[in-house]
Chain length 216, copies 2
DNA sequence: CCTAACAATTAGGTATACCTAATAAAATAC
DNA sequence: GTATTTTATTAGGTATACCTAATTGTTAGG
């Protein structure tokens, strides 16, 4: 019984991400996220449970402490890779996700350390998500979706929950990137768009899009 | 029939390296190099042949043009990774081989380009081996092993054919690294050591060790 | 020339991770 | 409270890449 480490890391990472919105993660949701069939996931989850990386109840799948620890390490490597790609190799923020998905399984703890050191221990990835530290400690800022702001509210963009390159390019073209200040001018009723002001320009932003942008 | 790309790359890379010393590469030699059993290699070679990546005659295995092209791309990614690790992330030359062995399968053509660009299109890896260019063109300098120099001959170190960290540390501690000038003071008879002079200091160097150091 | 040694392959078998189709269990609808 | 839908699992099967043991083939010795 030999472990396919990248596969295991992929599962744990997905579970970690999904359990932020749905606590015990359902196998169907996990299957959808990993683009695998539900039975494949069912089976693999059993194996992860036998390795004590997850606990599997009727309600769904939860990470054990060890599973969570591995997931956070993978996320750390992913986000550090993204920073390496943008800050040192000159990639744009919409180009780094897929690349980092491969790098995160190929990076040793030593390389992880060196990247962090070379970049001055960055606190977030290019999309604003926090990078867990070596001990898995993850500082989460209190944020809310831009879509929840009312007219004349202001906020500073903390992070953008989006991976699609096209959408990220679009957001960057509007200047909607971390650390930028946004002011809501008007909120259309019945789920209509928000009119926002970013560095002097005004844009209409769909609710769906605005909900991906987290502000403080 | 789905391809396990990293595995295929691993095989092609090994064949490429081995065919520099032994033209049609024997399966047993390949098995030894890949640390796999001969039957496993036999089988895999058949698959590579069916994909037209190698040709398989009685004498052994040869890369096809396509196989060679892939192998060179992998080697390019490996050596560029090593340069990234030393030049940007601060690794020592003895620490980069294993790391690069994993990175070479995780790097996209875009990342390959960016690394090359960020480093000013380096011509060699930290051990002095040439980095194939994007079109697979590889500039090989005419070199000979240090062990072939006679007393009072001088040479400039071009490359070091060695991967073992301990040996690399040792050589670096003597200053035996690429671009350094070495003078042979004395050659002991019957395969005995060479007495060499490197930046003012004299050392005795075993023939085996000296044969790994290529000079021009 | 025949035989010992070595090289390579075939035969047969394992483990992993995936799949589809069928079934069982749970949640929701009415 | 039963029927329908959704969710999860079992059953059965595929492909890949590895293994050991047995066999064939080739090279070199005597």
């Amino acid at each position: 019984m030999e472990a396919d480490t990248p596969r295991i890391e992929e599962y744990l990472e997905s579970i970690y991400k999904l359990q932020q919105e749905q606590h015990p993660v359902s196998t169907s949701r996990l299957a959808e996220h990993l683009k695998l069939s539900p039975p494949s996931v069912s089976e693999m989850v059993k194996k992860l449970a036998s390795k004590e990386l997850v606990s599997h109840t009727e309600k769904g799948v939860c990470l054990t402490e060890e599973g969570k620890s591995i997931a956070k390490k993978v996320i750390r490597r992913h986000r550090l890779s993204e920073r390496l790609l943008t800050d040192i190799l000159g990639f744009k923020w919409d180009e780094v996700h897929d690349e980092a998905c491969r790098l995160e399984h190929a990076i040793s703890p030593e390389m992880e350390d060196r990247i962090a050191e070379s970049l001055g221990n960055p606190k977030t990835c290019p999309h604003g998500h926090p990078i867990p530290d070596k001990d898995g400690i993850l500082i989460k800022e209190k944020v809310k979706p831009l879509s929840e702001l009312k007219a004349s509210d202001k906020g500073i963009i903390v992070s953008v929950f989006e991976e699609d390159p096209k959408m990220l390019q679009y957001l960057a073209s509007l200047g909607l990137i971390p650390d930028v200040c946004v002011r809501v001018e008007e909120v259309a009723p019945f789920g209509g768009p928000l009119i926002v002001c970013v560095s002097g320009s005004r844009y209409a932003l769909g609710r769906e899009v605005a909900s991906m942008i987290k502000v403080k």
